[in-house]
């Protein structure tokens, strides 16, 4: 476990010493503040559009950080040859993968926390209202979703050595699932065979990441999701995360690494 935490620590250090996170945070902050400064019909209490824009930026930024950071972990280690002195130590390949996953997940989680603190400050200053539990649920579920995304990216980085192609494919897959995944059953109903079977198969196989998107509930003040549903969704995310990590390990464990 010590090894996994040590590996995770290095990943976190890397994220915060690179510029990506700061650039995305500053961009999010600037766009949100600019959006918030616009005067719509002299009504200072209008706030939902600011929440909407800010949360959209947070989601995009978090996905960018998660996918880009993860997609380059293993390929960068191989290309820069830092993997050799590392695996020459008593580190199993499973520990290596778990350490990378944990580091990326924790780093993304910290970034998410910073983004949401900013969000709470901006919206709270207008609404004079801080629904902490709702924010906590939104952060938790988004973080759980990012675990799935990170595991997926890690799996992709074993298949494709080029971080750019892994990043692109993961983005397309995740965006597709978020936008369309929940509606594939509706689409399937209106198709003939064999397309109907194909759509249903995809619908039942993909991780339904759209469950974890509570933006609408936060923007429109719909309150909390039932805590049991929260727990079940977390277990669902954990299951898919485990699946993708296992696939990653199966792909990586027998890979020859030539110095």
């Amino acid at each position: 476990m010590n090894t996994i935490w040590a590996l995770a620590g290095v990943v976190i250090k890397e994220l915060y010493r690179r510029k990506d996170f700061y650039v995305l945070f500053v961009l999010t902050a600037l766009i949100t503040i600019a959006a918030g400064m616009v005067n719509f019909f002299h009504d200072p209490k209008i706030v939902r559009y600011v929440k909407d824009i800010c949360l959209l930026l947070i989601w995009v930024s978090a996905l960018l950080i998660a996918i880009i950071t993860t997609a380059r972990q293993i390929p960068a280690e191989r290309e820069s040859r830092t993997i050799f002195p590392l695996l020459a130590k008593p580190v199993t390949r499973w520990q290596f993968i778990l350490g990378k996953f944990l580091g990326c997940w924790l780093a993304t989680g910290m970034a998410l926390l910073v983004f949401y603190v900013f969000f709470a400050i901006i919206t709270g200053s207008r609404e004079q209202n801080w629904p902490w539990l709702t924010y906590l649920q939104a952060i938790w579920l988004q973080w759980a979703m990012l675990a799935v995304v990170i595991a997926l990216s890690l799996c992709g980085s074993i298949i494709s050595a080029a971080p750019s192609s892994t990043t692109t494919i993961c983005f397309i897959a995740v965006a597709g699932i978020l936008l369309v995944g929940g509606h594939l059953n509706t689409v399937a109903l209106h198709q003939s065979q064999p397309l109907q079977t194909i759509f249903y198969t995809i619908y039942f196989l993909i991780p339904h990441l759209e469950w974890f998107d509570l933006r609408d509930r936060v923007v429109y003040d719909w309150g909390l999701v039932d805590w049991l549903d929260c727990v079940l969704a977390t277990l669902y995310a954990a299951a898919y995360t485990g699946l993708f990590l296992l696939l990653t390990w199966l792909g990586f464990r027998r890979k020859s690494l030539n110095t």
Binding site: N2, T3, W5, A6, G9, V10, K13, E14, R17, R18, S80, R81, T82, F84, P85, L86, L87, A88, K89, P90, V91, T92, R254, S256, L257, N258, T259
Partner: protein, 251 residues
């Protein structure tokens, strides 16, 4: 004398080509034994299979046939690497970390306690003369400094066996001398050093025994003095003889 490193009929094949139809034999029935406390040189021309053999010992490449053992443990088990240190030929480390952070990271992997790790890090940075630069990120280091960081990380766990892949490659004469001194010091401490090198002069100076491989096959193995006596020449001429290279004057 107990055996610290052993290979038994080690064979490694690499397949290449679109349909994996081309097979290259990198190592063929390699039998090696390294005893505790000796400095063992692993020699061969470029492409002989030295790095492949080291990759197998470190678990980077699985053997096609045969086996390899460190401390009597199959190299495929990570615990076999608990008491070794490894210095790769090309030294690249996490550029965003400082030397101190890097050593602390590796110390943590070996399970060293904080106080012990701190002491060890101070000792090693002094040994490799990187104390003034310990807080600087590695990306600001010269090649020689990076090589010395590599040596420090290879020694972080006070290993009983040190595996060095071309340790003096790219170093200036001063750097090479420092590496030789460190190897000698380790030998005096009873450590075992296994290293591959092209610098036959250095090998002749520091090594107790050597093995010479060519085209994946072990051609000769034994004490340096024995090989030299057998071929009535210095180690370089003996090496050339063994790998079957004829100089123009000889032909």
């Amino acid at each position: 004398m107990s055996i610290i490193l052993k290979t038994e009929k080690l064979r490694v094949e690499f397949t290449s080509g679109e349909l994996r139809q081309t097979t290259k034999v990198a190592l063929d029935s390699l039998d090696l034994e390294v005893n505790v406390g000796e400095v063992f040189g692993f020699l061969g021309p470029n492409g002989a299979g030295k790095t492949t053999a080291i990759n197998v010992l470190l678990g980077f490449v699985p053997p096609t046939r045969g086996a390899a053992y460190l401390f009597g443990i199959d190299v495929r088990q990570p615990i076999a690497r608990q008491r070794i240190g490894y210095l790769p030929e090309m030294t690249y480390y996490y550029k965003f970390l400082t030397a101190e952070e890097l050593l602390r990271f590796y110390a943590r992997i070996f399970g060293l306690r904080r106080t012990e790790a701190d002491k060890r890090i101070d000792q090693l940075l002094k040994l490799v003369e990187l104390e003034p630069a310990r807080k600087r990120p590695i990306k600001s280091y010269s090649k020689g400094m990076q090589q010395r960081v590599g040596l420090a990380q290879a020694l972080i766990n006070n290993p009983d066996l040190l595996i060095l892949d071309e340790p003096t490659s790219g170093l200036d004469p001063l750097g090479r001398m420092q590496v030789r001194e460190i190897i000698q010091r380790l030998k005096n401490e009873g450590k075992t050093v296994f290293f591959s090198s092209h610098e036959l002069g250095e090998v002749e100076t520091v090594c107790d025994r050597v093995a010479i491989i060519n085209r994946g096959e072990l051609k000769a193995s034994g004490r340096v003095s024995d090989l030299v006596a057998q071929h009535h020449a210095n180690l370089e001429k003996a090496f050339l003889d063994i790998i079957g290279y004829q100089t123009q004057s000889a032909s």
